[in-house]
Amino acid sequence: MVEVRDLRKNYGKLEAVRGVSFTIPERTIFGLLGPNGAGKTSTIEMVEGLRVPDSGTIRVCGLRPIEDAMQVRQVLGAQLQTTSLPDKISVREAFELFAGFYRSPARVPELLDWVGLNHKAKTFYQYLSGGEKQRVALGLALVGNPKVLFLDEPTTGLDAKIRRELHDLILRLKDQGKSILLSTHYIEEAERLCDLVGIMDQGTLHAIGAPRQLIADQGAGDRLEVSLSQPLDLAQVGQLAGVDAVQPAEGNTYYLRGRSGGKMLASLAVFADHQGNELIEARITHNSLEDVYLSLTGRKIGS
Protein backbone atom coordinates (compact mmCIF):
# COMPACT_ATOMS: atom_id res chain seq x y z
CA MET A 1 0.00 0.00 0.00
CA VAL A 2 2.88 2.35 0.82
CA GLU A 3 6.36 2.08 -0.61
CA VAL A 4 9.17 4.45 0.30
CA ARG A 5 12.64 4.21 -1.21
CA ASP A 6 15.78 6.12 -0.19
CA LEU A 7 13.91 9.16 1.06
CA ARG A 8 16.02 12.19 1.95
CA LYS A 9 15.26 15.63 3.32
CA ASN A 10 17.59 18.40 4.46
CA TYR A 11 16.66 21.62 6.24
CA GLY A 12 19.65 23.81 5.50
CA LYS A 13 22.63 21.90 6.88
CA LEU A 14 20.49 19.58 8.99
CA GLU A 15 19.96 16.14 7.44
CA ALA A 16 16.50 15.41 8.83
CA VAL A 17 15.85 12.22 6.85
CA ARG A 18 18.76 10.16 5.52
CA GLY A 19 17.86 7.53 2.95
CA VAL A 20 14.80 6.02 4.61
CA SER A 21 13.16 3.02 2.92
CA PHE A 22 10.20 0.90 4.02
CA THR A 23 7.10 -0.85 2.73
CA ILE A 24 3.71 -1.08 4.42
CA PRO A 25 1.62 -4.04 3.27
CA GLU A 26 -2.17 -4.14 3.42
CA ARG A 27 -3.85 -4.54 6.84
CA THR A 28 -0.65 -3.65 8.64
CA ILE A 29 0.22 -1.16 11.33
CA PHE A 30 3.71 0.11 10.69
CA GLY A 31 5.23 2.10 13.54
CA LEU A 32 8.04 4.60 13.28
CA LEU A 33 9.59 4.52 16.73
CA GLY A 34 11.99 7.23 17.80
CA PRO A 35 12.44 10.26 20.03
CA ASN A 36 11.54 13.85 19.10
CA GLY A 37 13.78 15.05 16.30
CA ALA A 38 14.35 11.53 14.92
CA GLY A 39 12.83 12.51 11.55
CA LYS A 40 9.50 10.69 11.98
CA THR A 41 7.26 13.68 11.27
CA SER A 42 9.33 14.81 8.30
CA THR A 43 9.10 11.29 6.86
CA ILE A 44 5.34 11.07 7.39
CA GLU A 45 4.74 14.55 5.99
CA MET A 46 6.68 13.70 2.84
CA VAL A 47 4.64 10.51 2.41
CA GLU A 48 1.46 12.56 2.92
CA GLY A 49 2.61 15.06 0.30
CA LEU A 50 2.83 17.99 2.71
CA ARG A 51 6.59 18.32 2.19
CA VAL A 52 8.62 17.83 -0.95
CA PRO A 53 11.49 15.33 -0.53
CA ASP A 54 14.96 16.26 -1.73
CA SER A 55 15.27 12.80 -3.27
CA GLY A 56 13.78 9.33 -3.13
CA THR A 57 10.55 7.80 -4.32
CA ILE A 58 7.18 7.41 -2.59
CA ARG A 59 4.14 5.49 -3.75
CA VAL A 60 0.83 5.44 -1.88
CA CYS A 61 -1.56 2.93 -3.47
CA GLY A 62 0.64 3.27 -6.55
CA LEU A 63 0.25 7.08 -6.65
CA ARG A 64 2.86 9.81 -6.19
CA PRO A 65 1.95 12.14 -3.30
CA ILE A 66 3.11 15.39 -4.96
CA GLU A 67 2.34 14.79 -8.62
CA ASP A 68 -0.95 12.91 -8.05
CA ALA A 69 -1.89 14.95 -4.98
CA MET A 70 -5.65 15.14 -5.55
CA GLN A 71 -5.95 11.37 -6.18
CA VAL A 72 -3.69 10.49 -3.26
CA ARG A 73 -5.78 12.59 -0.89
CA GLN A 74 -8.86 10.62 -1.86
CA VAL A 75 -7.25 7.42 -0.55
CA LEU A 76 -5.29 8.63 2.44
CA GLY A 77 -6.38 9.92 5.79
CA ALA A 78 -4.00 11.73 8.10
CA GLN A 79 -3.97 12.81 11.68
CA LEU A 80 -1.48 15.59 12.24
CA GLN A 81 0.45 16.02 15.47
CA THR A 82 -1.68 19.08 16.16
CA THR A 83 -4.94 19.83 14.40
CA SER A 84 -6.24 23.36 14.36
CA LEU A 85 -9.84 24.12 13.46
CA PRO A 86 -11.94 27.28 13.85
CA ASP A 87 -12.96 27.77 17.49
CA LYS A 88 -16.67 28.08 16.71
CA ILE A 89 -17.12 25.05 14.47
CA SER A 90 -19.01 22.16 16.04
CA VAL A 91 -17.76 18.59 15.79
CA ARG A 92 -20.62 17.58 13.49
CA GLU A 93 -20.08 20.61 11.23
CA ALA A 94 -16.37 19.85 10.95
CA PHE A 95 -17.08 16.25 9.97
CA GLU A 96 -19.79 17.28 7.51
CA LEU A 97 -17.62 19.96 5.93
CA PHE A 98 -14.70 17.61 5.35
CA ALA A 99 -16.96 14.73 4.29
CA GLY A 100 -18.12 16.96 1.44
CA PHE A 101 -14.61 17.04 -0.02
CA TYR A 102 -14.43 13.30 -0.76
CA ARG A 103 -15.90 11.06 -3.45
CA SER A 104 -17.10 8.33 -1.08
CA PRO A 105 -17.05 9.73 2.43
CA ALA A 106 -17.96 7.98 5.66
CA ARG A 107 -21.44 8.65 7.04
CA VAL A 108 -21.12 11.37 9.64
CA PRO A 109 -23.51 9.91 12.29
CA GLU A 110 -21.65 6.60 12.13
CA LEU A 111 -18.31 8.34 12.30
CA LEU A 112 -19.37 10.37 15.35
CA ASP A 113 -20.45 7.16 16.98
CA TRP A 114 -17.28 5.37 15.99
CA VAL A 115 -14.91 7.92 17.52
CA GLY A 116 -17.17 8.23 20.56
CA LEU A 117 -18.16 11.86 20.05
CA ASN A 118 -21.90 11.51 19.58
CA HIS A 119 -22.57 13.35 22.81
CA LYS A 120 -20.25 16.18 21.71
CA ALA A 121 -21.61 16.51 18.17
CA LYS A 122 -22.92 20.04 18.74
CA THR A 123 -20.02 21.21 20.91
CA PHE A 124 -17.73 23.88 19.51
CA TYR A 125 -14.14 22.81 18.92
CA GLN A 126 -12.82 25.36 21.42
CA TYR A 127 -14.67 23.66 24.28
CA LEU A 128 -13.30 20.13 23.66
CA SER A 129 -10.69 18.49 25.91
CA GLY A 130 -7.31 17.37 24.55
CA GLY A 131 -8.49 13.78 24.19
CA GLU A 132 -11.69 14.85 22.42
CA LYS A 133 -9.70 17.01 20.02
CA GLN A 134 -7.53 13.99 19.21
CA ARG A 135 -10.71 12.03 18.50
CA VAL A 136 -11.87 14.82 16.18
CA ALA A 137 -8.50 14.63 14.44
CA LEU A 138 -8.89 10.87 14.07
CA GLY A 139 -12.43 11.36 12.79
CA LEU A 140 -11.24 13.87 10.19
CA ALA A 141 -8.56 11.38 9.12
CA LEU A 142 -11.28 8.77 8.61
CA VAL A 143 -13.95 10.96 7.05
CA GLY A 144 -12.87 10.20 3.48
CA ASN A 145 -12.99 6.40 4.01
CA PRO A 146 -9.23 6.13 3.40
CA LYS A 147 -7.34 2.99 2.48
CA VAL A 148 -4.19 4.23 4.18
CA LEU A 149 -3.99 6.11 7.48
CA PHE A 150 -1.14 8.24 8.78
CA LEU A 151 -1.18 8.89 12.50
CA ASP A 152 1.54 11.21 13.74
CA GLU A 153 2.01 10.70 17.48
CA PRO A 154 -1.74 10.34 18.00
CA THR A 155 -1.61 9.82 21.76
CA THR A 156 1.06 12.31 22.82
CA GLY A 157 -0.02 14.34 25.82
CA LEU A 158 -3.04 12.17 26.60
CA ASP A 159 -3.60 10.37 29.89
CA ALA A 160 -3.27 6.57 30.13
CA LYS A 161 -7.02 5.85 29.99
CA ILE A 162 -7.66 7.91 26.85
CA ARG A 163 -4.52 6.51 25.29
CA ARG A 164 -5.81 2.96 25.79
CA GLU A 165 -9.16 3.92 24.26
CA LEU A 166 -7.42 5.35 21.21
CA HIS A 167 -5.29 2.20 20.95
CA ASP A 168 -8.48 0.15 20.77
CA LEU A 169 -9.81 2.39 18.00
CA ILE A 170 -6.58 2.05 16.02
CA LEU A 171 -6.65 -1.75 16.32
CA ARG A 172 -10.26 -1.78 15.11
CA LEU A 173 -9.18 0.27 12.08
CA LYS A 174 -6.64 -2.40 11.20
CA ASP A 175 -9.35 -5.04 11.53
CA GLN A 176 -11.36 -3.04 8.99
CA GLY A 177 -8.55 -3.60 6.49
CA LYS A 178 -6.74 -0.28 6.65
CA SER A 179 -2.97 0.09 6.41
CA ILE A 180 -1.64 2.43 9.06
CA LEU A 181 1.59 4.35 9.41
CA LEU A 182 1.98 5.41 13.02
CA SER A 183 4.74 7.47 14.55
CA THR A 184 5.34 7.28 18.26
CA HIS A 185 7.95 7.67 20.94
CA TYR A 186 6.08 5.37 23.33
CA ILE A 187 7.66 1.91 23.49
CA GLU A 188 4.53 0.25 24.86
CA GLU A 189 2.40 1.83 22.12
CA ALA A 190 4.66 0.42 19.42
CA GLU A 191 4.73 -3.02 21.10
CA ARG A 192 0.97 -3.13 21.56
CA LEU A 193 -0.19 -1.78 18.21
CA CYS A 194 2.40 -2.38 15.53
CA ASP A 195 2.84 -5.38 13.27
CA LEU A 196 6.07 -3.86 12.01
CA VAL A 197 8.29 -1.32 13.71
CA GLY A 198 10.97 0.88 12.20
CA ILE A 199 13.56 2.08 14.70
CA MET A 200 14.40 5.64 13.76
CA ASP A 201 17.04 7.96 15.13
CA GLN A 202 18.70 11.08 13.75
CA GLY A 203 17.05 10.69 10.36
CA THR A 204 18.10 7.08 9.87
CA LEU A 205 15.95 3.96 9.96
CA HIS A 206 18.18 1.51 11.85
CA ALA A 207 16.03 -1.63 11.70
CA ILE A 208 12.60 -2.83 10.61
CA GLY A 209 10.78 -5.87 11.87
CA ALA A 210 7.99 -7.27 13.96
CA PRO A 211 8.44 -6.12 17.59
CA ARG A 212 8.85 -9.70 18.87
CA GLN A 213 11.35 -10.48 16.16
CA LEU A 214 13.37 -7.34 16.86
CA ILE A 215 13.45 -8.20 20.56
CA ALA A 216 14.34 -11.83 19.84
CA ASP A 217 17.17 -10.69 17.58
CA GLN A 218 18.65 -8.97 20.61
CA GLY A 219 18.77 -12.37 22.30
CA ALA A 220 16.20 -13.63 24.73
CA GLY A 221 16.94 -12.50 28.24
CA ASP A 222 16.97 -9.67 30.69
CA ARG A 223 18.35 -6.24 31.06
CA LEU A 224 19.98 -5.05 34.26
CA GLU A 225 20.18 -1.31 34.81
CA VAL A 226 22.62 -0.43 37.60
CA SER A 227 23.92 2.77 39.17
CA LEU A 228 27.14 2.72 41.18
CA SER A 229 29.17 5.15 43.24
CA GLN A 230 32.22 4.86 40.92
CA PRO A 231 32.79 4.09 37.22
CA LEU A 232 33.08 0.47 36.09
CA ASP A 233 35.75 -1.13 33.92
CA LEU A 234 33.59 -2.22 30.97
CA ALA A 235 36.03 -4.91 29.80
CA GLN A 236 36.06 -6.56 33.20
CA VAL A 237 32.28 -6.36 33.61
CA GLY A 238 31.85 -7.95 30.19
CA GLN A 239 33.74 -11.00 31.48
CA LEU A 240 31.43 -11.52 34.47
CA ALA A 241 29.29 -14.65 34.69
CA GLY A 242 25.94 -14.29 32.91
CA VAL A 243 26.80 -10.94 31.26
CA ASP A 244 26.54 -10.95 27.46
CA ALA A 245 26.95 -7.23 26.86
CA VAL A 246 27.43 -4.02 28.77
CA GLN A 247 26.70 -0.44 27.75
CA PRO A 248 27.39 2.78 29.62
CA ALA A 249 24.62 5.36 30.13
CA GLU A 250 24.73 8.74 31.88
CA GLY A 251 27.03 9.15 34.89
CA ASN A 252 27.85 5.85 36.60
CA THR A 253 24.80 4.08 35.22
CA TYR A 254 25.22 0.99 33.02
CA TYR A 255 23.00 -1.43 31.10
CA LEU A 256 23.96 -5.10 31.26
CA ARG A 257 22.34 -7.69 29.06
CA GLY A 258 22.26 -11.43 29.63
CA ARG A 259 20.08 -14.52 29.93
CA SER A 260 19.28 -14.05 33.63
CA GLY A 261 18.96 -10.72 35.42
CA GLY A 262 19.42 -12.37 38.82
CA LYS A 263 22.72 -14.01 37.83
CA MET A 264 24.05 -10.76 36.38
CA LEU A 265 23.13 -8.88 39.54
CA ALA A 266 24.77 -11.45 41.80
CA SER A 267 28.07 -11.48 39.92
CA LEU A 268 28.11 -7.69 39.58
CA ALA A 269 27.42 -7.19 43.29
CA VAL A 270 30.44 -9.39 44.18
CA PHE A 271 32.64 -7.68 41.59
CA ALA A 272 31.66 -4.17 42.75
CA ASP A 273 32.28 -5.13 46.37
CA HIS A 274 35.80 -6.36 45.54
CA GLN A 275 36.46 -3.07 43.74
CA GLY A 276 35.21 -1.02 46.70
CA ASN A 277 32.46 0.28 44.45
CA GLU A 278 29.02 0.73 46.01
CA LEU A 279 25.92 -0.53 44.17
CA ILE A 280 23.35 2.27 44.58
CA GLU A 281 20.45 1.11 42.45
CA ALA A 282 19.56 -1.90 40.32
CA ARG A 283 16.58 -2.75 38.13
CA ILE A 284 15.91 -5.92 36.16
CA THR A 285 13.58 -5.88 33.12
CA HIS A 286 12.86 -8.30 30.31
CA ASN A 287 14.20 -7.26 26.92
CA SER A 288 11.87 -4.86 25.12
CA LEU A 289 11.91 -2.52 22.17
CA GLU A 290 13.63 -0.07 24.50
CA ASP A 291 16.60 -2.46 24.55
CA VAL A 292 16.47 -2.84 20.80
CA TYR A 293 16.50 0.93 20.48
CA LEU A 294 19.34 1.25 22.97
CA SER A 295 21.35 -1.43 21.27
CA LEU A 296 20.90 0.06 17.79
CA THR A 297 21.36 3.72 18.60
CA GLY A 298 23.38 3.67 21.83
CA ARG A 299 20.75 5.92 23.45
CA LYS A 300 17.59 5.49 25.48
CA ILE A 301 14.53 6.64 23.56
CA GLY A 302 13.69 9.29 26.11
CA SER A 303 17.22 10.74 26.27
Partner: protein, 296 residues
Protein backbone atom coordinates in the same frame (compact mmCIF):
# COMPACT_ATOMS: atom_id res chain seq x y z
CA UNK B 1 -16.77 24.10 -7.29
CA UNK B 2 -18.95 22.25 -4.82
CA UNK B 3 -16.07 22.10 -2.34
CA UNK B 4 -15.46 25.83 -2.73
CA UNK B 5 -19.12 26.63 -2.08
CA UNK B 6 -19.17 24.36 0.99
CA UNK B 7 -16.14 26.04 2.49
CA UNK B 8 -17.46 29.51 1.68
CA UNK B 9 -20.84 28.79 3.26
CA UNK B 10 -19.27 27.33 6.40
CA UNK B 11 -17.06 30.38 6.67
CA UNK B 12 -20.12 32.66 6.43
CA UNK B 13 -21.87 30.68 9.19
CA UNK B 14 -18.82 30.76 11.43
CA UNK B 15 -18.37 34.51 10.95
CA UNK B 16 -21.82 35.17 12.35
CA UNK B 17 -20.78 33.34 15.53
CA UNK B 18 -17.81 35.61 16.17
CA UNK B 19 -18.79 38.90 17.77
CA UNK B 20 -15.71 40.79 16.64
CA UNK B 21 -16.35 39.79 13.00
CA UNK B 22 -19.91 41.10 13.27
CA UNK B 23 -18.58 44.34 14.71
CA UNK B 24 -16.12 44.89 11.85
CA UNK B 25 -18.58 43.81 9.17
CA UNK B 26 -21.63 45.78 10.31
CA UNK B 27 -21.23 48.01 13.38
CA UNK B 28 -18.01 49.74 12.37
CA UNK B 29 -19.13 50.53 8.77
CA UNK B 30 -22.49 51.80 10.06
CA UNK B 31 -20.65 54.29 12.26
CA UNK B 32 -18.95 55.62 9.13
CA UNK B 33 -22.29 55.66 7.34
CA UNK B 34 -23.58 58.28 9.76
CA UNK B 35 -20.26 60.15 9.95
CA UNK B 36 -20.06 60.47 6.15
CA UNK B 37 -23.70 61.43 5.61
CA UNK B 38 -24.25 63.64 8.65
CA UNK B 39 -20.92 65.44 8.81
CA UNK B 40 -19.77 65.54 5.20
CA UNK B 41 -23.03 65.35 3.23
CA UNK B 42 -25.05 67.33 5.84
CA UNK B 43 -27.91 64.89 5.11
CA UNK B 44 -28.36 66.52 1.67
CA UNK B 45 -29.83 63.81 -0.65
CA UNK B 46 -27.61 64.54 -3.68
CA UNK B 47 -24.49 64.83 -1.52
CA UNK B 48 -25.45 61.52 0.09
CA UNK B 49 -25.64 60.00 -3.40
CA UNK B 50 -22.25 61.48 -4.27
CA UNK B 51 -20.72 60.08 -1.09
CA UNK B 52 -22.21 56.60 -1.32
CA UNK B 53 -19.38 55.41 -3.61
CA UNK B 54 -16.59 56.73 -1.35
CA UNK B 55 -18.34 55.26 1.74
CA UNK B 56 -18.59 51.79 0.18
CA UNK B 57 -15.03 52.15 -1.07
CA UNK B 58 -13.85 52.84 2.48
CA UNK B 59 -15.53 49.66 3.75
CA UNK B 60 -14.25 47.63 0.80
CA UNK B 61 -10.64 48.69 1.33
CA UNK B 62 -10.73 47.71 5.00
CA UNK B 63 -12.85 44.58 4.62
CA UNK B 64 -11.65 43.07 1.34
CA UNK B 65 -8.00 44.08 1.22
CA UNK B 66 -7.12 44.16 4.90
CA UNK B 67 -9.59 41.52 6.10
CA UNK B 68 -8.95 38.83 3.53
CA UNK B 69 -5.16 38.92 3.63
CA UNK B 70 -5.08 38.92 7.44
CA UNK B 71 -7.53 35.99 7.57
CA UNK B 72 -5.46 33.86 5.21
CA UNK B 73 -2.16 34.61 6.94
CA UNK B 74 -3.73 33.89 10.35
CA UNK B 75 -5.08 30.56 9.09
CA UNK B 76 -1.63 29.68 7.78
CA UNK B 77 0.11 30.73 11.00
CA UNK B 78 -2.35 28.72 13.14
CA UNK B 79 -1.79 25.61 10.97
CA UNK B 80 -5.46 25.59 9.95
CA UNK B 81 -4.58 25.45 6.27
CA UNK B 82 -2.57 22.23 6.87
CA UNK B 83 -5.75 20.37 7.76
CA UNK B 84 -7.30 21.46 4.45
CA UNK B 85 -4.06 20.68 2.61
CA UNK B 86 -4.51 16.99 3.51
CA UNK B 87 -7.97 16.96 1.94
CA UNK B 88 -8.57 16.86 -1.82
CA UNK B 89 -8.85 20.62 -2.20
CA UNK B 90 -7.01 22.82 -4.68
CA UNK B 91 -5.40 26.17 -3.87
CA UNK B 92 -7.96 27.83 -6.17
CA UNK B 93 -10.85 26.32 -4.19
CA UNK B 94 -9.32 27.42 -0.90
CA UNK B 95 -8.57 30.97 -2.05
CA UNK B 96 -11.86 31.26 -3.93
CA UNK B 97 -13.86 30.15 -0.91
CA UNK B 98 -12.34 32.87 1.27
CA UNK B 99 -12.96 35.55 -1.34
CA UNK B 100 -16.52 34.35 -1.90
CA UNK B 101 -17.40 34.09 1.79
CA UNK B 102 -16.10 37.57 2.53
CA UNK B 103 -18.05 38.91 -0.45
CA UNK B 104 -21.23 37.18 0.72
CA UNK B 105 -20.75 38.64 4.19
CA UNK B 106 -20.09 42.12 2.86
CA UNK B 107 -22.79 42.64 0.24
CA UNK B 108 -25.72 42.69 2.73
CA UNK B 109 -24.03 45.74 4.24
CA UNK B 110 -24.10 47.48 0.85
CA UNK B 111 -27.80 46.71 0.50
CA UNK B 112 -28.48 47.91 4.04
CA UNK B 113 -26.56 51.16 3.59
CA UNK B 114 -28.16 51.90 0.21
CA UNK B 115 -31.67 51.19 1.56
CA UNK B 116 -31.03 53.25 4.67
CA UNK B 117 -29.68 56.15 2.59
CA UNK B 118 -32.85 56.12 0.49
CA UNK B 119 -35.19 55.81 3.46
CA UNK B 120 -33.45 58.03 6.00
CA UNK B 121 -31.70 60.62 3.82
CA UNK B 122 -34.11 60.51 0.85
CA UNK B 123 -31.25 59.73 -1.50
CA UNK B 124 -32.61 59.69 -5.08
CA UNK B 125 -32.69 56.26 -6.71
CA UNK B 126 -31.11 56.76 -10.12
CA UNK B 127 -29.48 54.57 -12.72
CA UNK B 128 -29.41 50.83 -13.02
CA UNK B 129 -29.35 49.06 -9.66
CA UNK B 130 -27.85 45.93 -11.13
CA UNK B 131 -25.07 48.00 -12.73
CA UNK B 132 -24.44 49.52 -9.30
CA UNK B 133 -24.36 46.03 -7.79
CA UNK B 134 -21.91 44.95 -10.48
CA UNK B 135 -19.58 47.90 -9.88
CA UNK B 136 -19.55 47.42 -6.11
CA UNK B 137 -19.16 43.64 -6.48
CA UNK B 138 -16.24 43.95 -8.88
CA UNK B 139 -14.71 46.63 -6.69
CA UNK B 140 -14.91 44.28 -3.72
CA UNK B 141 -13.50 41.33 -5.66
CA UNK B 142 -10.65 43.40 -7.13
CA UNK B 143 -9.55 44.68 -3.72
CA UNK B 144 -9.99 41.20 -2.21
CA UNK B 145 -7.85 39.75 -4.98
CA UNK B 146 -5.10 42.26 -4.19
CA UNK B 147 -5.41 41.05 -0.57
CA UNK B 148 -4.79 37.49 -1.80
CA UNK B 149 -1.56 38.63 -3.44
CA UNK B 150 -0.49 40.32 -0.19
CA UNK B 151 -1.23 37.09 1.74
CA UNK B 152 0.84 35.17 -0.79
CA UNK B 153 4.03 37.23 -0.43
CA UNK B 154 4.20 37.84 3.31
CA UNK B 155 5.50 35.32 5.83
CA UNK B 156 3.95 36.58 9.02
CA UNK B 157 0.97 38.48 10.33
CA UNK B 158 3.21 41.41 11.22
CA UNK B 159 4.43 41.65 7.63
CA UNK B 160 0.85 41.45 6.39
CA UNK B 161 -0.13 44.32 8.69
CA UNK B 162 2.71 46.51 7.45
CA UNK B 163 1.87 45.93 3.78
CA UNK B 164 -1.84 46.34 4.38
CA UNK B 165 -1.36 49.62 6.22
CA UNK B 166 0.77 51.00 3.40
CA UNK B 167 -1.82 50.04 0.79
CA UNK B 168 -4.74 51.01 3.03
CA UNK B 169 -3.64 54.60 3.55
CA UNK B 170 -2.49 55.05 -0.04
CA UNK B 171 -5.84 53.87 -1.35
CA UNK B 172 -7.75 55.85 1.27
CA UNK B 173 -6.24 59.22 0.40
CA UNK B 174 -5.39 58.92 -3.29
CA UNK B 175 -8.60 57.51 -4.73
CA UNK B 176 -11.37 59.86 -3.62
CA UNK B 177 -12.38 57.57 -0.78
CA UNK B 178 -11.78 60.14 1.93
CA UNK B 179 -10.77 63.34 0.10
CA UNK B 180 -12.95 64.33 -2.91
CA UNK B 181 -11.09 63.70 -6.16
CA UNK B 182 -11.84 67.22 -7.45
CA UNK B 183 -10.04 68.66 -4.42
CA UNK B 184 -6.89 66.67 -5.14
CA UNK B 185 -4.06 67.99 -7.36
CA UNK B 186 -4.38 67.20 -11.07
CA UNK B 187 -1.52 64.66 -11.10
CA UNK B 188 -3.12 62.73 -8.23
CA UNK B 189 -6.37 62.64 -10.20
CA UNK B 190 -4.40 60.94 -12.98
CA UNK B 191 -2.63 58.66 -10.52
CA UNK B 192 -5.97 57.71 -8.96
CA UNK B 193 -7.06 56.08 -12.22
CA UNK B 194 -4.46 53.37 -11.63
CA UNK B 195 -6.26 52.27 -8.49
CA UNK B 196 -9.38 50.05 -8.30
CA UNK B 197 -11.27 52.10 -5.62
CA UNK B 198 -11.29 55.10 -7.98
CA UNK B 199 -12.97 53.01 -10.67
CA UNK B 200 -15.59 51.90 -8.17
CA UNK B 201 -16.20 55.49 -7.03
CA UNK B 202 -16.40 56.89 -10.58
CA UNK B 203 -18.62 54.04 -11.74
CA UNK B 204 -21.03 54.43 -8.85
CA UNK B 205 -21.07 58.23 -9.29
CA UNK B 206 -22.00 57.81 -12.95
CA UNK B 207 -24.85 55.49 -12.01
CA UNK B 208 -26.13 57.25 -8.89
CA UNK B 209 -25.70 60.85 -10.01
CA UNK B 210 -26.04 60.50 -13.78
CA UNK B 211 -28.62 57.75 -13.93
CA UNK B 212 -26.37 55.55 -16.09
CA UNK B 213 -26.39 51.83 -16.67
CA UNK B 214 -23.62 49.29 -17.14
CA UNK B 215 -23.16 50.25 -20.79
CA UNK B 216 -21.87 53.72 -19.91
CA UNK B 217 -19.47 52.28 -17.35
CA UNK B 218 -17.68 49.72 -19.49
CA UNK B 219 -14.18 51.14 -18.79
CA UNK B 220 -14.69 50.92 -15.01
CA UNK B 221 -16.26 47.44 -15.21
CA UNK B 222 -13.61 46.07 -17.56
CA UNK B 223 -10.84 47.66 -15.49
CA UNK B 224 -12.11 46.13 -12.25
CA UNK B 225 -12.66 42.77 -13.93
CA UNK B 226 -9.14 42.76 -15.33
CA UNK B 227 -7.62 43.49 -11.91
CA UNK B 228 -9.81 40.81 -10.30
CA UNK B 229 -8.92 38.06 -12.75
CA UNK B 230 -5.20 38.87 -12.80
CA UNK B 231 -4.87 39.17 -9.04
CA UNK B 232 -6.94 36.05 -8.26
CA UNK B 233 -4.64 34.15 -10.64
CA UNK B 234 -1.58 35.55 -8.91
CA UNK B 235 -3.11 34.93 -5.48
CA UNK B 236 -3.59 31.26 -6.35
CA UNK B 237 -0.06 30.95 -7.78
CA UNK B 238 1.45 32.52 -4.65
CA UNK B 239 -0.78 30.68 -2.17
CA UNK B 240 1.07 28.67 0.51
CA UNK B 241 -0.56 26.10 2.79
CA UNK B 242 2.36 25.74 5.16
CA UNK B 243 3.86 28.42 7.39
CA UNK B 244 7.25 26.68 7.14
CA UNK B 245 7.31 27.33 3.41
CA UNK B 246 8.61 30.88 3.17
CA UNK B 247 8.13 33.36 0.38
CA UNK B 248 10.98 33.61 -2.13
CA UNK B 249 12.47 36.38 -4.24
CA UNK B 250 10.75 34.77 -7.23
CA UNK B 251 7.40 35.00 -5.40
CA UNK B 252 7.92 38.71 -4.80
CA UNK B 253 8.76 39.28 -8.45
CA UNK B 254 5.63 37.32 -9.39
CA UNK B 255 3.60 39.50 -7.03
CA UNK B 256 4.90 42.58 -8.81
CA UNK B 257 2.94 41.32 -11.83
CA UNK B 258 -0.16 42.46 -9.96
CA UNK B 259 0.87 45.96 -10.98
CA UNK B 260 0.47 45.09 -14.68
CA UNK B 261 -3.36 45.16 -14.84
CA UNK B 262 -3.36 48.32 -12.69
CA UNK B 263 -0.92 49.97 -15.11
CA UNK B 264 -2.86 48.82 -18.17
CA UNK B 265 -6.16 50.09 -16.80
CA UNK B 266 -4.63 53.33 -15.52
CA UNK B 267 -2.91 54.15 -18.81
CA UNK B 268 -6.02 53.25 -20.80
CA UNK B 269 -8.28 55.51 -18.75
CA UNK B 270 -5.75 58.34 -18.58
CA UNK B 271 -5.36 58.36 -22.36
CA UNK B 272 -9.04 57.87 -23.18
CA UNK B 273 -10.49 61.32 -24.07
CA UNK B 274 -14.08 60.11 -23.81
CA UNK B 275 -13.49 58.66 -20.36
CA UNK B 276 -11.74 61.86 -19.26
CA UNK B 277 -14.70 63.93 -20.45
CA UNK B 278 -17.28 61.85 -18.62
CA UNK B 279 -15.02 61.57 -15.62
CA UNK B 280 -14.73 65.36 -15.31
CA UNK B 281 -18.47 65.73 -15.75
CA UNK B 282 -19.21 63.49 -12.78
CA UNK B 283 -16.49 64.87 -10.63
CA UNK B 284 -18.12 68.26 -11.19
CA UNK B 285 -21.56 66.87 -10.36
CA UNK B 286 -20.17 65.48 -7.13
CA UNK B 287 -18.60 68.81 -6.24
CA UNK B 288 -21.83 70.65 -7.00
CA UNK B 289 -23.64 68.30 -4.63
CA UNK B 290 -21.05 68.88 -1.93
CA UNK B 291 -21.14 72.63 -2.38
CA UNK B 292 -24.93 72.60 -2.08
CA UNK B 293 -24.60 70.58 1.11
CA UNK B 294 -21.93 72.93 2.45
CA UNK B 295 -24.16 75.96 1.97
CA UNK B 296 -26.85 74.46 4.21
Amino acid sequence: MNRMLRMAWMSVLLSYRVKIAFYFTFVFPMMFFFIYFELFAKAEPMAVAALMGPLISFSVISNALFGLSVQLVTMRERDMLRRYHLAPITAFEMVGSRLLSNYLLFMPLVVLQYALAVWWYHMPVRGSLWALWLVFSLGYLALGAIGLVVAGVVNTLQEATVWNNLLFFALLFLTGTTLPLMELPRFIQHLALFMPPTLMILGSAGIMLGGQGAGQNIPEIVGLLLVTVACVGLGVALFRWEKEVKTTRRNRLQAALALVPLLVVGLWLNYSPSFQKVNQQYLQSSMAAFNAAAKR
